[in-house]
C-alpha cells in the first residue's frame, strides 16, 4: 500500500482515515448544531423544558415552541443546507468553475423571477404560492439555460455559465422593473430575497425533501462520470463515460437540489459556493465523497447561521440570508488565503 507523506516528510493521514475522521467528527458537530437549533432562540428555555417540549409533556406554550417552531425550523435547515451544499458541488463539477453556486446557473434568478411574476400578476404572496412558484421558476429557467446553451453549438461547460449569467441578468432586470412598479411586489421580493427558515410548514419541508433525495440519488449516479469529465472530454469518452448524458443528469440534479433549497429558504448566497471549498482540503476532490460530505457540512453551516440569526439581535431576529452572506464571504476569503489560492 502506498504511504502518504506530507512535503515535510511526516506521514499524512490516509484518505480513508481522513474521510472516516471527517464523518465521525462531522456527524458529532451536526448533532450539536441541530441540538443548539432546537435549544436556542429569542425565548430562553431550560434544558428540562426542552426535553418536556420534545416529549410533549410540558406546558402547552413550550410544547408549541419546541415541536412546532424550532424542530420544523431545524428540519428545514437540514434539508436546505444539504441541498445547497450538494448543488454547489455539482455546479462546480459541471461548469469546472470554482465560483459555481446556484446563482451562477441562474437558479436563484429563475426562482426570483417566478415569485415576482406570481406576486405581480396573480396577487398571490402566500407561503404556498411562493414556494411552488420559486421551485417551478428554478426548473424552467435551468431548462431554458440548457436549451439556449445547446443551441449555440458550443459544448464547453463554460458556455452554460455564460448563458446562465446572461439570462440571469435579463430575469433580474425584469424582476427589478416589476418590483419597482408595484410596491406590494417589492415588499414580497424584499422579504423573500432575504432568505429565511421561519414559518415553513413541515409538510412543505417533507415534500421538498423528496425532491432533494431524488436530486442526490441522481447526483451520486453521475459523480464518477463528472470526475472523469474533469480530466478532459476525450479521455472521459475513451474510458466509457457518456459525457453528455452525465451533464444532463447532473443539471437535472442541480435543478432539483437548488430549486428545492431556494423554494424552502429563499436565495441563500455563499453556502453553495463555500461548502465545496470547505470540504476539498478535508476529504479530497472526489465528487461522490464531496456530495456525501455536503450532507454534513451544508446543514452545519446553515443551522449555525440560523442560530446566530436568532441570537445576535434578541429579542428580534435577522433573516438567515443576511448571516450567511455576512459570515460566508470572510470565511471563504480566510479559507482561500490559508490554502494559498488553490481551488482544487
Amino acid at each position: 500500500m502506498t504511504a502518504f507523506t506530507s512535503p515535510a516528510g511526516r506521514r499524512a493521514p490516509r484518505p480513508r482515515c481522513r474521510v472516516l475522521a471527517f464523518t465521525g467528527a462531522g456527524c458529532g458537530v451536526l448533532l450539536l448544531v441541530a441540538a443548539a437549533s432546537v435549544a436556542l432562540g429569542s425565548r430562553t428555555v431550560g434544558v428540562h423544558q426542552i426535553v418536556q417540549g420534545l416529549a410533549h409533556t410540558g406546558p402547552a406554550d413550550i410544547v408549541t415552541l419546541i415541536r412546532e417552531v424550532r424542530v420544523p425550523r431545524t428540519a428545514a435547515g437540514l434539508v436546505a443546507g444539504a441541498a445547497l451544499g450538494a448543488a454547489g458541488i455539482l455546479i462546480q463539477a459541471v461548469t469546472r468553475n470554482p465560483l459555481g453556486d446556484p446563482g451562477l446557473l441562474g437558479v436563484n434568478s429563475g426562482s426570483g423571477f417566478a415569485v415576482t411574476l406570481t406576486a405581480a400578476f396573480t396577487g398571490s404572496t402566500g407561503v404556498t404560492a411562493t414556494v411552488w412558484s420559486a421551485f417551478a421558476g428554478a426548473a424552467a429557467v435551468t431548462a431554458l439555460i440548457v436549451v439556449v446553451a445547446a443551441s449555440t453549438g458550443n459544448r464547453h461547460p463554460g458556455q452554460l455559465v455564460l448563458v446562465g449569467v446572461a439570462l440571469g441578468a435579463v430575469f433580474s432586470g425584469i424582476q427589478a422593473a416589476l418590483a419597482l412598479i408595484n410596491p406590494r411586489t417589492l415588499d414580497t421580493m424584499r422579504t423573500w430575497s432575504a432568505g429565511t427558515l421561519t414559518g415553513i410548514p413541515p409538510g412543505t419541508t417533507a415534500f421538498l425533501a423528496v425532491f432533494v433525495a431524488l436530486g442526490l440519488i441522481a447526483a451520486l449516479t453521475v459523480a464518477r462520470g463528472l470526475d472523469m469529465a474533469a480530466m478532459g472530454e476525450d479521455l472521459a469518452k475513451g474510458l466509457g463515460t457518456r459525457t453528455q448524458l452525465t451533464r444532463v443528469v447532473a443539471i437535472a440534479a442541480i435543478t432539483l437540489l437548488a430549486g428545492s433549497a431556494t423554494a424552502l429558504a429563499g436565495p441563500l448566497s455563499f453556502l453553495g459556493l463555500m461548502v465545496p471549498h470547505l470540504l476539498r482540503p478535508l476529504i479530497g476532490p472526489g465528487t461522490r465523497r464531496l456530495l456525501l460530505g455536503s450532507l454534513i457540512a451544508g446543514p452545519v453551516l446553515l443551522l449555525t447561521a440560523d442560530v446566530a440569526a436568532r441570537l445576535v439581535v434578541r429579542p428580534g431576529e435577522l433573516p438567515v440570508g443576511v448571516v450567511t452572506a455576512f459570515l460566508g464571504a470572510p470565511l471563504l476569503l480566510l479559507l482561500l488565503h490559508s490554502r494559498g489560492g488553490r481551488t482544487r
Partner: protein
Amino acid sequence: MRRPSRPWTPLFGALLAATIAVSGCTATGRTDDSAAPDVASGTSKGFPATFTNAWGTATVPAAPRRVVTLGYADTAVASAMGANIVGAVKSYGSVSGETKDENLPYAKPLDDSVTWLDPMTINTERIAGLRPDLILASTAFTLDEPTYKRLSTVAPVVTYEKQLYGADATEETLRIGRALGDEQGARKIVDTAGRAVAKLKADLPGLAGKTYLYGQARDGFAVMITKETNATARFMNRLGLAPLPAVAQLDGKGSVPGAIDVSYERAALFDRADALFMTYQSGALKEKFESDPVVSRLRILTSDRYLPLGIEAATALQSPNAAAVPWLIGELRTTLTTVAAR
C-alpha cells in the same frame, strides 16, 4: 498653467435658467389659475414666507396658485384647505393595486384634472411640467437631498424640518397652512382633529390607561412601536393608550425609530395587551404571522381586540396627520370600543 476651458457648462446653465424662467412666466400668465380656490387666490398676507427644511431653506414669495403635493399629509391638509392642487401622489392602495381610487379615503376627492404622481419615484421632469409655484413635501417618504435640490429649481419646496415623520401633527398642519397662506384654515383642521379625539375619549372613558401593541409583521418577528419618538405612539398616547410595558421594557433594538423587534417566539407577550394593531407589507407576511404556531394560539388573535389594518389605515397611522384623524378614529373605533369595555 492655463485651465482647460469648458465651453458647454455656461451654455447649459444658461439654457436651464432660461427654461425655468420661461416655465415660471408661463405659470403666472395662465388664465385658468384665476380659478384657484380662496386659499390660493386670497390675500398675500404672510408672504414671503421662509421655511427651514431638512436640506436648506425655501421662500414662498406669494400665495401659491398651483400646488404639487408629494406626501399624504400634504395632500390631505391642502385639499381640506381648498388649495389648487395640480399634482398629487396617488394613494398607496392604488399604487399597490389594492384599490383603483387614487384619492386618499380621508381627503376631499381631488379634481379630475389633477395629475397623479407615483409616491415611490419622484419624477422632477413631470412635476416641472405641471408648473407649480409651491411643492409640499412635508411627508414625502421617498424624498432625498439630491431630489430636493432638483425640485427646488422648479418651485419652492417645503419639506419636514428635521426628519421624516418627526414633527407633531399640529406643527406639521400649521406649517402646511403657513405655506398656503392660510394658518387660520390649518388651525380649523387641527381643532376638528382635536374635537374628534376628545369625543372618542368622552364616549369611551374606559380607554384611558389601556395598553396596546402596534406592529408591522416581518419575517419571523414583529416591529413593535414602543416610544413616543414615533408618530404612531404619539397618536395612540393622545387616545389615552399606552404601549404594553412587557414589550416596551424589553432590551433590544428596533428596525424603525421608537420601536423594538420582537421574535414570534416571544409572541406570548402579545396576549397581555388590551389591543393588538398589526400592519402587513404583503399577504405572505400576514399569512406567516397569523399561522405561526405561537402567534396562532394567542387569545387576542381570535378576539375583537386584534385589528389587522388595511393598507390606507396603516399608511395613515404611520404618521397620523390632522386631516386624517377623524377617519382614522372611525377605522379603529370598533376595536377601541371593545378595549374600553374590558
